[in-house]
């Protein structure tokens, strides 16, 4: 079998020389994940030393902590807006905000983020206008922002399909010689999809700079992880593709920043793709349409409350004295500002243009779409005429 990846990728296929007599590091030595999820701050807020992953500096931790608090506020406010009927649906990432924030923070401006429907907080943290982000979930259009403007793909609803797009963006970036890393998000359920397998395999074979972050929140709607996979961990799957896998405490913002940061740096330096599994928990229902009492007990959920990502980071930063009452006050104001932006934005009803239905299917409308568009326009004119007559 020849590895037909094109020789510009030469030198990066360290795992391909299967006949080599060199006694370098075995694949197992660097592709298998740690025995336990990497943790730098424990749930009590104490630093846990790790030889491989240094603790990020206080400044990065503080700025990321603010994003964490704001992220929680986004989730809570969005849930409220669904209850008030201002949004159609909101898949909350409550409890997973550390993953959301870290995924956005470790990327540079020129990098790409590929989010799923549950990654609204990551997209907003990346810098996309919150109201443009929520266009999807309030039902105005399928996506409200320009993916090229913030190098952030649309939020993918089909599972794992976006991972292949991430590989393609990275492949193009590599061919063009761009200094671009792509971070692609998915959940534990999505690792069962064929596209997950194909994306990891393509990324490894073409040796492209993609970091795959699996947020293992233990449930795919109602189905627990044990029904998805009996692998030792989802991160263990990496070695099967010839890339390193790592697992990390998904409620530990410091550990996520360190592990993801290292994977991103490695990808940027030409080291190829990596798979990171973040162990976290979906604290709330899948969406407002879900009834979790049918498949999990409240006791199970309560076990995760003491592991909350905000509590431990706050405790640690207070101990470190980089966070004081004033700082907490400023962060609370920032969170309330964000909540107000969401409330005010979603309490206005934006105009939707029915004729847009036809405007973007093709660059140039087909004659069939021109006919159908004209038909709708006539209906609108007729309806408008009736409205003016009736009162």
């Amino acid at each position: 079998m020849t590895i037909s990846t094109g020789k510009p990728y030469e030198g990066s296929m360290e795992n391909q020389d299967r006949d080599s007599q060199d006694t370098g590091p075995t694949a197992e030595a660097y592709m298998l994940p740690s025995a336990q999820p990497v943790r730098l701050i424990d749930p009590q807020g104490s630093h846990v030393h790790n030889d491989k992953y240094p603790l990020p500096d206080g400044e990065l931790l503080l700025s990321s902590y603010q994003k964490l608090v704001v992220g929680r506020r986004i989730n809570d406010q969005a849930n409220a807006l669904v209850r008030q009927g201002r949004m159609a649906v909101y898949p909350s990432s409550h409890g997973q905000e550390a993953c959301q924030v870290a995924a956005a923070v470790v990327l540079e401006k020129q990098d790409w983020l590929f989010p799923t429907y549950r990654d609204t907080v990551a997209v907003i943290t990346r810098g996309v206008d919150p109201l443009e982000v929520l266009t999807l979930l309030r039902g105005d259009w399928h996506s409200g922002y320009d993916p090229h403007e913030h190098k952030t793909a649309t939020q993918s609803t089909p599972l794992a399909t976006q991972l292949l797009h991430a590989v393609g963006v990275a492949h193009a970036a590599k061919l063009k010689g761009e200094n671009t890393v792509v971070l692609a998000l998915c959940g534990d359920g999505a690792t069962s999809e064929g596209d997950f397998h194909e994306a990891l395999n393509f990324a490894a074979v073409f040796h492209v700079p993609v970091v795959f972050l699996v947020q293992n929140n233990e449930y795919a709607i109602s189905v627990p992880l044990k029904n998805q996979s009996v692998a030792p961990s989802l991160a263990h799957k990496a070695i099967g593709y010839g890339m390193p896998g790592e697992r990390v405490d998904g409620n530990d913002l410091a550990a996520l920043l360190s592990v993801l940061g290292k994977a991103v740096d490695r990808a940027r330096d030409g080291g190829g793709p990596a798979l990171v599994e973040a162990h976290t928990y979906r604290m709330q229902a899948h969406t407002n349409a879900d009834d979790p009492s049918r498949y999990r007990s409240q006791d199970d959920v309560e076990k995760w409350v003491p592991r909350d990502p905000i509590t431990r980071m706050r405790t640690y930063l207070r101990q470190l004295t980089v966070l004081d009452d004033d700082g907490e006050g400023r962060i609370a104001v920032a969170a309330e500002d964000m909540a107000a932006t969401l409330r005010n934005g979603l309490n206005t009803e934006p105009e939707v243009n029915p004729e847009d239905l036809f405007n973007f299917v093709f660059t140039e409308k087909t004659s069939q779409l021109r006919e159908q568009s004209a038909m709708l326009r006539e209906e609108l004119i007729r309806d408008a005429a009736l409205e003016t007559v009736e009162p």
Partner: protein, 354 residues
């Protein structure tokens, strides 16, 4: 015919071209790919066995040697992977051309095609364009085993957002593939396998110059009158066009003048050319290999009845494949539209009542 013998057959015809010489359909496609890659550095070609082998039908013959492994390369054997990676590469400034090795082997990519290729530009209000081409060797008539002969055009034509093209001549093979690669939106490009070895006397250099001297599409959305006639209109595309032409030639011997329309652009569909012809002749037969139920042929019939009803002297007939899975090689000739079946359909167009 096995895959291996197909390859040998195709290989025989992959010789370098000369001006105004006999050129196969396969060679015209190969030249179109090479010229597109030469004129636009963002064009990349990938799929299964398209590298050093040149594809199982040799359509990508010589491209890796000429343009390098970065621009024409083999992928792992995974069609969804090929398709999904093409989406991402198109998002990041490339013009990917992918080969699905056979019609029925494209189905693993169907979710990517339907959920993302077709919808991404609409989803993003045109902010993300996907200028990519999905080349699919398709349809039957080559004695292929199961999963090698499907006529899958209806699946794609039914999906809003896809432009679906099916050339039937050597000239169109070249020009339509060039237009597909230059097109701003995703194109499903259906290559009738049985026509790969068909030949015409063509000057590929002249075709190249003609294409490159104009920015506007000449074939996308435009059907063509392949044979002029006055008594009835045969409407066909892709592999059925030569069959329709043969039927028209046979009918002429019997004194009946049949016009043949080569649809060639299934989406966008050229209502005007089709309806102009049918209004003039008053009779029509639509011919396609795919099973007729809920098919492109059905759609064409419906459009004619809606638009040309008062010009029709008889109900519009269809000659299509039966509503069965594609048959095995010894049985396929009973399935495929034939000259006799087309002439029978023409005979049934209520000539006595005129």
């Amino acid at each position: 015919m096995t895959e291996a013998t197909l390859e040998v057959e195709a290989a025989k015809d992959s010789q370098p071209s000369q001006p105004a010489t006999t050129v196969t359909f396969a060679k015209a496609l190969n030249a179109a790919l090479a010229d597109a890659m030469e004129s636009d550095k963002t064009v990349v070609m990938f799929g299964e066995d398209v590298g050093p082998l040149g594809g199982v039908f040799r359509i990508t013959d010589g491209l890796t040697a000429r343009f390098g492994e970065e621009r024409c390369f083999d992928t792992p054997l995974a069609e969804a992977g090929i398709m999904g990676m093409a989406v991402g590469m198109a998002m990041n400034g490339m013009r990917p051309v992918v080969e699905m090795q056979f019609d029925a082997f494209a189905y693993p990519a169907f979710e990517q095609v339907v959920s993302h290729v077709a919808k991404m530009p609409n989803r993003t209000k045109g902010k993300v364009k996907l200028p990519l081409v999905i080349r699919i060797p398709y349809a039957g008539g080559i004695g292929g085993v199961e999963h090698h002969c499907d006529s899958s055009e209806s699946y794609y034509a039914h999906t809003p957002g896809l432009t679906v093209l099916a050339p039937a001549t050597v000239r169109d093979a070249y020009t339509m593939l060039r237009e597909a690669i230059r097109f701003p939106d995703p194109v499903v490009f259906l290559e009738p396998k049985k026509l790969y070895w068909s030949k015409e006397t063509v000057d590929l250099e002249e075709l190249r110059e003609s294409f490159e001297s104009s920015d506007s599409p000449q074939t996308v959305g435009r059907a063509v009158v392949a044979r002029a006639g006055t008594d009835a209109t045969l409407i066909a595309y892709g592999p059925s066009v030569p069959t329709a032409m043969a039927a028209a030639a046979a009918a002429a011997v019997e004194g009946r003048s049949l016009e043949v329309i080569d649809v060639r652009s299934i989406v966008p569909f050229d209502d005007e050319t089709v309806c102009t012809s049918v209004r003039r002749t008053g009779r029509a037969v639509v011919i396609a290999e795919a099973p007729g139920f809920a098919s492109v042929a059905s759609e064409i019939v419906a459009r004619i009845q809606e638009r040309c009803f008062h010009s029709l002297a008889a109900p519009v007939k269809r000659v299509t494949g039966f509503d069965i899975p594609y048959p095995s090689p010894k049985l396929e000739h009973w399935f495929l539209p034939s000259v006799d079946r087309i002439l029978d359909a023409v005979d049934e167009l209520q000539w006595d009542e005129r």
